[in-house]
């Protein structure tokens, strides 16, 4: 990978890229192991499948709604094309409690730092769905004001085409995301510090010291 000045040192997003064994090691290329079963032990495989099943069926979404796709988002959320049938019904308007960042609508240049900050503030495991063509590739707004797709700002897992996509397409995108979550490698509590950040020693309350947090 040539040293590209524009390349942002992006954390290896644990959520949507199968976790490589050494987090933060640039050289470790996240190889998509063809047969997941052989690479890890029996217990780890079952735990990963169980965790994948639990996480895929209870996605809390953060609806980052900006433009016309919001109308179809309402339809997907409301009674007829109910997204609740797939467990993703509960919108959480705080990145702390959300698993899925749904970018619904156009991301223009002024909105890109906002989108990046919200993505960075989301807690792992996190996934991103680009809802609609404008979020996937800028749509037909190829001009000075519009980012040509949200994946120029943050890594995106699932692209839902359509301007705006019909609610069935959205549910199909959600199914694809759920399959991806199911087949990812989920590991137990990984307390690695992020490579480039060493938090100063936090003043820990009595309970904090007690629980050794």
């Amino acid at each position: 990978m040539s040293e590209n000045p524009h390349r942002l040192t992006v954390l290896k997003p644990e959520g949507n890229v199968p976790e490589s064994h050494q987090i933060g090691d640039e050289a470790a290329i996240p190889v998509l192991v063809t047969r997941l079963g052989e690479s890890i032990g029996f217990f780890e495989k079952n735990l990963s499948n169980a965790l994948g099943w639990a996480r895929k069926n209870s996605i809390f979404q953060y609806p980052f709604v900006t433009a016309c796709c919001g109308m179809e988002y309402m339809s997907a959320m409301a009674g007829r094309y109910d997204i609740a049938r797939f467990g993703a019904e509960f919108p959480r308007f705080s990145p702390r409690q959300a698993d899925l960042l749904m970018i619904v609508g156009t991301i223009n240049v002024k909105q890109s730092p906002v989108l990046k900050l919200v993505y960075e503030q989301m807690t792992e495991p996190k996934w991103v769905m680009a809802f609609g063509v404008c979020a996937s590739s800028g749509g037909f707004y190829d001009n000075y004001a519009t980012m040509q797709g949200a994946d120029r700002v943050i890594p995106v897992d699932v692209y839902v085409p359509g301007c705006p996509p019909r609610p069935e397409q959205v549910l199909d995108g959600l199914k694809i995301l759920q399959d991806k979550i199911q087949h990812q490698l989920h590991r137990a509590a990984t307390l690695e510090r992020a490579p480039d950040v060493e938090l100063e020693t936090k003043k820990r309350s009595f309970l904090g010291k007690l629980l050794g947090k």
């Binding site: 954390l11 644990e14 906002v114 900050l117 989301m122 807690t123 509590a189």
Partner: protein, 126 residues
């Protein structure tokens, strides 16, 4: 032991909910990944970097409302047991006494309410 027997289902219920909450809490901390980064620690202000201090002096009005709430909430806490036991008291002949007792308790608080009302502490948007 038979005196406590009606409470066994409640005990079982408490046990189950306790175990359930504990299990969820422990599982979440054990299985959930924790990647602490500097940006994640900053406060979320709808996507814009937060400005200004986190802790500022709140208006006194909030404190007043909280105080009033506590006063009248405790009052209602005392009324519930009284209401439950009124019938038994009446059987033992203390009915009227208990009734007037509670009436005087509520009268004093009513006077307090009147004072606060006249003083204008209830209008919030001054």
């Amino acid at each position: 032991m038979d005196y406590l027997s009606p409470y066994i289902p409640v005990l079982v219920l408490l046990l189950i909910t306790g175990v359930l909450c504990l299990a969820i809490g422990v599982l979440a901390t054990v299985l959930g990944p924790r990647r602490i980064t500097r940006i994640k620690e900053t406060s979320f202000e709808c996507g814009t970097p937060s400005t200004g201090a986190g802790h500022q002096r709140h208006s006194v009005k909030f404190y007043l409302v909280a105080l009033l709430f506590i006063v009248f909430d405790i009052e209602s806490v005392f009324i519930y047991p009284w209401g439950a036991l009124l019938r038994d008291l009446q059987v033992e002949g203390f009915g009227w006494f208990a009734y007037f007792e509670m009436l005087s308790f509520m009268a004093t608080l009513a006077i307090g309410l009147l004072y606060v009302w006249r003083k204008g502490a209830l209008e919030f948007s001054t």
